[in-house]
């Protein structure tokens, strides 16, 4: 049995970062993001990327459901590996990490909820006009985008809550 304590810094880019630890904690998340992106690209995108888009509609419904659920199942396995990582932390690090995840979850939910309202007020059109960047896709719950936002807020939350105990 491995008695080594987990530390939050081992998955945060910096001097204590460990690729091995990061892969152990976030490997299933990486798999979920990759399969989610591949599903979107191969089965739902228009030409030239969506090479299976037309034939996909003829696949049996059970198989299509399995294909769509693979990222979700991988996400559940990610949650399990995250819980195992948390259990190997000492109580202070566990508290800091839980506070950071709570902050990240609430912040991500807030941004995802507020975005359609801002978009309704014409923010996407204004950004497109000023920068020629399309933001229409942001009003749909895109898995990699949500995870990316979650991690940015997690790093920010960890920085804030960790400072209190330094």
């Amino acid at each position: 049995m491995n008695d080594k304590l987990s530390i939050p810094d081992e998955i945060i880019p910096g001097e204590n970062y460990s690729f091995r630890a990061d892969l152990k904690v976030n490997g299933w998340l990486l798999f979920a993001m990759a399969t989610g992106a591949a599903n979107g690209l191969l089965f739902h995108s228009k030409s030239p990327y969506g090479v299976l888009r037309n034939s996909y509609q003829d696949w049996p419904i059970g198989l299509r459901a399995v294909v769509e659920l693979v990222p979700l199942l991988a996400s559940l396995l990610w949650a399990w590996s995250l819980a195992r990582w948390l259990r190997r932390m000492d109580e202070l690090h566990c508290r800091i990490t839980l506070e950071a995840w709570f902050f990240a979850t609430i912040s991500t939910l807030f941004v995802l909820s507020i975005w359609p309202l801002l978009d309704g007020a014409g923010v996407s059109a204004a950004v497109l006009q000023a920068t020629h960047v399309h933001l229409e896709a942001l009003d749909k719950p895109i898995f990699p985008l949500t995870v990316g936002m979650l991690y940015i807020f997690y790093f920010l939350g960890h920085f804030i809550f960790n400072r209190r105990f330094k």
Partner: protein
């Protein structure tokens, strides 16, 4: 919460890392307890009490007293 952990540790000539190792926690946790930024859980407080062979109230001081 105030505590006498730093004095007790110094009396034993242990570093924060030594104490962290004996308690099974990180050095940051020992430091945060010593500086009063973090109050340990009851199991950890009992571990400290056993390690220093003193009652919990001889190590930690209730601020509301």
């Amino acid at each position: 919460m105030k505590n006498k952990l730093r004095e007790l540790r110094a009396a034993k000539e242990w570093s924060q890392s030594d104490l962290a190792g004996k308690l099974g926690v990180s050095r940051q946790t020992v430091n945060a307890i010593e500086t009063g930024r973090y109050d340990p859980s009851l199991p950890l407080a009992f571990k400290l009490a056993r390690l220093f062979k003193r009652p919990i109230e001889a190590i930690f001081e209730d601020n509301e007293k």
